[in-house]
């Protein structure tokens, strides 16, 4: 429980701190939360569930305030804490990080995310799902571009529409399950009611599809990213999108499994379209952030499609890919942020020759580029390899479609990199990296390469929980602690 309470308290404190204390406080706070989660990790055994809140009786509305984590959730928890710390570190040399409200909101965001990942109760899940929206909204609004209201409303209402659909699904779910406890929801039997299952699943899917975002629901993303501050973009792409993917693995498919037959291929198709569409649009974008936004549409389309297959390997691979994408997202948006901070522009056409004036930045940007095109020795390679393999096994057409990301990814990423770093030096003065940026890049590279060479860590961690979920769905497990 302290896992969720701690960031809440720290966040509230951060609001009232004097300006010059905020920066170190924020970093320390996030690190302390990270430490706590590591303590959880130390005495965690992937084979079983850890329930951090488990009241005996069922409250009105079928509310059971169950909270806990398995390997899957704990992975996300660790990811969240790590990412939050890295984001705060990455913003160290920006004055946004000395703003109490920003730090506080980030920590509240962390609290909401941790709650989301550890909640084992439908309504609780929905609650935290909505709560994450508020801090990010305020961050975007207060620290983003000042004329960003339209993009902001688009983002908020779009996601809100999605979550309302999810609410409908949960309301409908109440008719199939005695309570909102995760375990009972998963065991809710739709025998012979596949269509209902599909409808309920569809409602939940809508919420996730907007967040991910899947192909036709992605229009909020690019404007939101471009208007957001660097930290906001990082939070969005490195964490909030992952909520949806996690939700798909942990909640959507296990709950509505009977309906999966109806939704499997449509979603995979959308994912496939997204892969190509995002990549193709990214090719000619001028604004680095927009480019990366479309790139992430392409990447996440792949992950979503892989998840919908719901084979064990696919889910393991998508977890690897989720982590990798968080790394990539932070890396790329940090690069864009650095360029913007130094030059007040992100337009590739105004850039060029930065590598000459700032060789270290050039080098690290290159490394990040290669990580993001998921060359071997990086986590992305394993993830994409297995995901595309699974898709190819499911059907060769989608396999081919997914594989285009190998080529197109190289095309737009190299264009972005070379366009901004190489060529005739339009940029004459460019301050090279500061220590915290070095640190961030270093950490990210180590993580990417580490997971790329030994992804087994992640796999061992989540395989039991997938198996467990499958048994739970099959109902051979009467597990209702």
């Amino acid at each position: 429980m302290e896992l969720i309470i701690l960031p809440l308290i720290l966040g509230i404190i951060a609001f009232f701190l004097p300006t010059n204390w905020v920066r170190p406080f924020g970093l320390l706070a996030s690190l302390s939360v990270l430490a706590v989660s590591f303590v959880h990790l130390m005495n965690f055994d992937p084979e079983n569930y850890v329930l951090i809140s488990n009241p005996a009786e069922i409250f009105p509305l079928g509310l059971t305030f169950k909270m806990g984590y398995d390997g899957l959730a704990l992975t996300m928890v660790l990811l969240t804490n790590a990412v939050i710390s890295i984001i705060l570190l990455a913003n160290w040399n920006r004055d946004i990080s000395s703003n109490g409200r920003f730090t506080g909101l980030t920590l509240l965001m962390q609290c909401a995310l941790l709650g989301l990942f550890t909640s084992l109760d439908g309504i609780l899940f929905y609650t935290f799902w909505e709560l994450t929206l508020i801090p990010i909204f305020l961050i975007l609004y207060w620290f983003g571009k000042q004329d960003n209201n339209r993009a902001l409303f688009k983002f908020f209402l779009y996601t809100l529409l999605g979550s309302l659909m999810m609410l409908l699904s949960f309301i409908g779910l109440a008719y199939f399950s005695p309570s909102f406890s995760y375990f009972q929801l998963v065991q809710a039997n739709f025998d012979g009611k596949a269509v209902e299952a599909a409808l309920i699943m569809g409602g939940i899917l809508f919420a996730f599809a907007v967040k991910i975002p899947l192909f036709p629901f992605h229009t909020w993303q690019a404007p939101t990213y471009t208007n957001a501050p660097m930290a906001g973009t990082m939070l969005l792409s490195a964490l909030m999108l992952k909520m949806a993917l996690y939700g798909m693995i942990k909640w959507m498919i296990p709950i509505g499994f009977e309906g999966l037959v109806y939704l499997k291929w449509p979603v995979i198709t959308l994912g496939g379209i997204g892969i190509v569409y995002g990549a193709i649009i990214a090719m000619k974008q001028k604004d680095l952030k927009t480019l990366f936004a479309y790139a992430s549409i392409s990447h996440l389309g792949l992950i979503a499609a892989g998840i919908m297959l719901f084979t064990v390997s696919a889910i393991e691979a998508s977890m690897v890919q989720i982590i990798n994408h968080s790394i990539v997202a932070i890396a790329l948006f940090l690069c864009a942020g650095i360029i913007e901070q130094r030059l007040q522009t992100r337009n590739i056409e105004d850039l060029g020759g930065i590598a000459k004036v700032a060789p270290h930045f050039g080098f690290w940007f290159a490394v990040m580029t290669f990580i993001s095109v998921s060359v071997p020795f990086t986590a992305g390679f394993i993830g994409e390899f297995v995901l595309i393999k699974e898709l190819f096994t499911a059907h060769w057409v989608i396999g081919l479609t997914a594989a285009t990301t190998l080529v197109f990814g190289a095309v737009y990423m190299l264009r972005a990199y070379q366009g901004s770093m190489f060529g005739p030096s339009k940029v004459t003065v460019f301050a090279d990296l500061t220590w915290n940026e070095y640190a961030v890049f270093g950490i990210l590279t180590v993580a990417a390469v580490g997971f790329g060479l030994y992804p087994q860590v992640i796999i061992d961690f989540i395989k039991p929980s997938i198996k467990f979920t499958q048994e739970l769905m099959a109902g051979d497990l009467t597990f209702t602690k």
Binding site: K284, E316, I388, Q418, Q456, I459
Partner: protein, 642 residues
Amino acid sequence: MGKDLLLLTLISLPLMGAAINGMLGKKMPKLIVGSLATILVFVSFLIGLTLFSGLDKTTIVHLFQVAKFDDFTLDANFQLDSLSIWMTLIITGIGSLIHLFSMGYMSHDEGYHKFFTYLNLFIFSMLLLVLGSNYFVLFFGWEGVGICSYLLIGFHYNDAEKGIANSLAARKAFIMNRIGDAGLLFALFMMLNKFHTLEFVEIGKMISASPELYTGIAGCITLCLFLAATGKSAQIPLFTWLPDAMAGPTPVSALIHAATMVTAGIYLTVRSNFLFELAPTTKDIILVIGIATTVVAAFIAMRQNDIKKVLAYSTVSQLGLMFVALGMGAYTVALFHVTTHAFFKALLFLGSGSVIHAMSDEQDIRKMGGLSKLTPITHITFLIGTLAIAGFPFLSGFFSKDEILAHAWMSSPIVYGILMVAVTMTAIYMFRLYFLVFHGSFRGGEKLKSHVHESGLSMTIPLMVLAVLSVFGGILNLPGIVFHNAGHWMSHFLESTTYGLNQIETEHMDGNQSIILMCIASTVALSVMAWAYITYVKKQAVAKEDADMNAWEKLSSNKLYIDEIYQTIFVQPILWLSTTLASQFEQRILNNGIFRLTSAIEASGNYTKKWQSGFLSSYLFWMVMGIIGFISYYIIKSTFWN
């Protein structure tokens, strides 16, 4: 020291070098940086030799398990057998020579330590490629060399005038290789689904156990593998990146784009021969593409005026030749040509490098001429290289090429005929190049001439070593007619790894037939040489300007317009699609569609609020209307509801 440990050191030494140079290179003096890199590679060459001498049977070295998914596992294993060790020797041997060469060549470059870091990294990934015991590790190496070649081609990215061009060339190379890699990936997927493993040995066992089971899938797999091979080894349709890749420093061209990386495709094919043997169709396709490539490239090479471009196209052509051999199932022959080609092509590139160095970075042969006196060593070595590639009797190229021609003759005279044409063209452009560069009068102007000088030792030693190799390389695999017992030593050495390959031994045809073939080959070489001597030395002909070229010459010098064709067929449409989608679909339909909808909803508020007129009478009126509506509702309802 156990074999596996030796193997791991062999692989890790270049990586170590890369790490050290990468981190501390900036601080260290250039000499140490260069010699460190060189020595490490050379040491691994020595280790390779020891392994080679002590080689008995195939040994697998298990390093660690990368990932275990529920129906397959990905392992980092290394395999030690004749093929892999042979490739290792080529890579490390040529590699160390070229390292040595570049110590001199790059001495004035500010990116010195970066260069050697990349080179060592390349050697490392190349070793991964050839030593890996399964397709997964092979893929790691496969992509790794791609990255290194990207980095090295674009090495001078911030060069004042050629910076953009260099980085574009690098990008082109990387992306085209990526297309090939996709093919390799799909091959891997199919193998995983079919065999549930990627180990060469195990797949080989399965297939040899019951070949008939796998004939169908083998076709698809081999096609994908061949796509990958075309990407790396610059075959039609993916060959256009190689000439552009000459933007990189010359040692890079020699090492990566002549001797080692581009032969990865051949290695891959030989490695998976058990699959190719099951897919005759694929082999025919390989044959056709090989022939096409070798002819086309040779044709283009004839009117190139950039010394490195000529060599690049000749590389493509030679690779095509190797694929012809593969297409005919003569794997060891292909490898033999790989080896000899590595020798003389490296030699030629380094020679051209030394020339360019001497000419202070001038690459246009129209500006050269008469360098034979100014740079004697380069001249001699270059001549040897030329003779070797042109198939001058009893040089390395002569034998290796002759093997291929012999097989061609065996399979069908037509193939043989076409290949002869290609061979002739090879001789033509090589001698043209040689004579234009080293004979006649210097065309570069006095100022330039004063600078011209012979390169230092670190550059000439490799040249000489390679010259020796290119002369005597043929001994490795002499045709049987000369020494029956020593004949085809290399083929026999490699047979152990190439399962069930159908050898067309030259022994099968009677001695004089093969002698006739040899005679034809040598006569062609000699006559072309004579012709070239007359044209370029006696008549003092020089490379024409573009203006007064005839049709075929234009075609040749413009590379058959293939780049332009690709541009219009593939690149432009995609970019157009990108802009159109972004502006039309994305912006107009999705964005504005939603925006219109929302604004319409918002605007509808204006109408709803009009209802609130502010007049009491209208309020009362609507209330009465409501009640009347209620009552009418009752009337309707009561008629239906009971």
